[in-house]
Symmetry: C2
Subunit: 281 residues, 2 copies
Amino acid sequence: MGLLRHIEAVNRWDPARFRPLVLGERRVGRIRHDFAPLLAAFPAVFAVETDRVRLRPDPAEPEALTAAVALATRRLVADGAIPNWRGEWFDVVAGDDEQALFRVDRGALPRLGMRAAGVHLNGYVRRPDGIHLWIARRSPDKKLDPDKLDNMVAGGIGAGHGPWSTLLKEGEEEAALPADLLARAHPAGIATYVMEREDGLRDDLLYLYDLEMPEDVVPRPNDGEIADFRLLPATDVLALVRDTDRIKFNVNVTLIDFFVRHGILRPGDPDYVAICRGLRR
Amino acid sequence: MGLLRHIEAVNRWDPARFRPLVLGERRVGRIRHDFAPLLAAFPAVFAVETDRVRLRPDPAEPEALTAAVALATRRLVADGAIPNWRGEWFDVVAGDDEQALFRVDRGALPRLGMRAAGVHLNGYVRRPDGIHLWIARRSPDKKLDPDKLDNMVAGGIGAGHGPWSTLLKEGEEEAALPADLLARAHPAGIATYVMEREDGLRDDLLYLYDLEMPEDVVPRPNDGEIADFRLLPATDVLALVRDTDRIKFNVNVTLIDFFVRHGILRPGDPDYVAICRGLRR
């Protein structure tokens, strides 16, 4: 089945089907053409033009902007045009900028084609027979990607938070890891992609972290999001990524990045150069 | 001065100034428009057309192709149109393909805009106060980039060789490292760039390797290419990359990649996302 298919899958979208969502002159999202008419029902919030959708409220008043967009998107959730209200604020940014402009509910991000940032932590153990990875299995009753395999710790970065504080919070909540161990994690780069899904776009920026785990620490499910954890040889995880769809769509990509950085995937492997290039396109 | 300037510097070239060099229907290089007329002097080898230059010899006969191009480029060296004959064969490939099509002398690669592959090895020591890097200083009488700082080991991949055998050879020749130590190096990804220089294009694919060095092994100059080696705190090397031009142009990039992978450069550092994106563009 191959590795490159996962990188291609998360980079599949058709720009011709979307128009930019702008605040002032800055792009903050992308609206699918067939969704734009639904935004026209809120003329005080969205100005729907043929080649773009403009946010009407004053950019200099982020609180008013947040409230206006929340009002419109709540109505769209009630109408079934946005799948669900998550009750988690996310910061809205322009392009790769990190400056928060206002806030929207996490559930509205795909429909508005807005950037979502998250953290993914690879927990690994060095053994004489090679690197092993702690792999989580998502709870079978999770709404998104139930039962799929996942990184040891992963989570979205809520409004007002950065990657590091999110990592510490999720590591405790999801895997019951002690704070002094999590503090030894180190950043290892990013993965980015834009992917078209049923409900709009996933425009994701994932901050990647590595944590070498001592043999005697075992992550355990703590908040019902994760069913169990297993420690697997990295080469077995590579085979799962290559040959199955057991792993959550974007975790395939964070794992491939780990395999490249740690030399588990090597020059001479099929598509090595294309895989390395694809990881940060 | 900043880090991003190094990534921008190695990605600076103007496609409008070049036309493709093709073998059959495959692009194997890029010819600057003002250099194309010089190739017209060898009509049995190069067909100079307005929108491309075609290699005339039969692609199915790589030895004849190699000999024909060598004859032409040797003449261009004699005429001063190609700076020098290096006496090192490099494999010619199409795009990211690894399949060798024929061979040219290393000195002719920039003028023909052909891909050059190399290996760069980061040698590092883990200490309680953080990662330290072995940094080489190039010999002051080296023709290219004399006296500049360099990775512990680096070298071009000659025809018929792969990255791994090149790493073992250069590690012994340049730094007198024992083979059993070099065997513990692991691949960690690639860096690629296309850069316009006086003498044409550098279209480089660098295979990156990391090697954790024991405290008691000291690399030493072995073949006159390197003047000396110094072990520096990685944060000091980061400052050299950021604030000076002491380091060889492309080694700035391989070091930035190392800083990202090992968390010496962190989210929140200026341009973090742009730097990560730029490394593999």
